[in-house]
């Protein structure tokens, strides 16, 4: 599967991270026989690359959070199978990329590591959530303004934080996700970056992010705990979050560390409905 990728690097020349995208793309091209899309040529002539991208899954490699390559993919209506942002990876690896415009040994080792990781990811199948068939019986309260309809589940076991994320507690586990408010504001969600299975997340810590052409939204986890499952389906169908962010669009499942302590700083649906109503009214006035 790996060798079938077509790769779109940002190929940025004004930052070391951009150069890393190019080297990584070249390495993947050599080892996996992947095809590379040249972002500059793509701007002037589409036909060749549109065809390639339609035939193979697309791997986007961005250097920095400006995400030029991702934006190009959006502009060209390409479906992204996987994306990495080199600057974020460098942070994870605790590597400070150099300020110059040349790759040094440090970056070369980093590129090798990234390559190995991509290889591994391709080999290991992500653990699917066991309770795929969990049945939801959420009853929804609806808030409506001129433009949008927001639904909020009325369930005593669903908790919210004031950062528009929800958690549905089930024993010592909880599923987490974003609310309708986030989904509507982002509009079409194009990318999903899950946390990793095994990650330990603090309460209010980052637990993945989602992105549309408008913005990036970082999930703020309502609970602390260990990630035991992620919603695999979102990797290929992030639009499920738009369809229903509480059911098919759940993001991750956590094994909870301190549910009772964490609940002190969370709110139930009644309060969340009030807060959302106020936000919607404020936004309406503007």
């Amino acid at each position: 599967m790996a060798e079938k990728y077509v790769i779109l690097p940002c190929n940025g020349l004004d930052k070391c991270a951009g150069l890393v995208t190019r080297e990584l793309a070249l390495k993947l091209h050599e080892r996996w026989d992947s095809e590379i899309i040249c972002p500059v040529f793509y701007r002037v002539s589409e036909a060749k690359y549109n065809k390639l991208a339609a035939e193979r899954p697309l791997l986007v490699i961005d250097g920095c959070p400006t995400r030029c390559a991702s934006k190009l993919a959006v502009e060209k209506n390409l479906k992204v199978a996987r994306r990495i942002i080199v600057a974020d990876e460098a942070k994870k690896h605790r590597i400070g990329l150099n300020d110059g415009l040349r790759i040094t040994d440090l970056e070369r080792r980093f590129i090798d590591d990234l390559f190995e990781e991509l290889n591994k990811i391709e080999e290991t199948v992500r653990p699917a959530s066991e309770n795929e068939a969990v049945s939801y019986n959420f009853d929804y309260e609806t808030i409506q303004n001129r433009k949008f309809i927001f639904r909020i589940p009325k369930n005593g076991e669903v908790f919210f934080n004031e950062n528009d994320c929800w958690a549905w507690v089930n024993g010592n586990r909880a599923r987490i996700g974003v609310t309708d408010y986030v989904q509507q504001n982002l509009s079409d969600i194009l990318y999903f970056y899950p946390p990793e299975v095994g990650d330990e997340i603090d309460q209010f810590g980052e637990s993945g992010s989602i992105e549309s052409s408008k913005a990036v939204f970082e999930l703020v986890s309502p609970f602390s705990g260990k990630v035991v499952a992620i919603n695999d389906k979102l990797a290929t169908n992030p639009e499920l979050i738009n369809e229903n962010p509480y059911e098919l669009g759940w993001i991750a499942e956590l094994e909870l560390t301190d549910p009772e302590g964490d609940k002190e700083l969370l709110i139930g649906f009644e309060r969340y409905i009030e807060i959302t109503q106020k936000k919607v009214e404020d936004a309406d006035v503007k």
Partner: protein, 97 residues
Amino acid sequence: MSETTFMGVERNLIDWKPTIDYSKCNYCMDCVEFCPHKVFEVRDNDEIRLIVKNPHNCVVFCRACSKTCGPDALSFPDKNATTQRIKEIRKEMESHG
């Protein structure tokens, strides 16, 4: 905006805001465009062209603008320290009835 609270605590008691590292910032203004809460202010005629004007408008625990910042010039307070502080303030409020 004085009536705004976060988790029952008055917003202006919570220290949560972006800090701009001017040695990295290239004034692309992506953060300004991104944030809907009027946290930043552009000052076209000053040498420092961007400031954090309304820190208390910033949504506690949000860090979204830093994700749009290419040169990684935005930083935030420590989240755990902030959570602890909110818990403390809530305790104080409870004990004062």
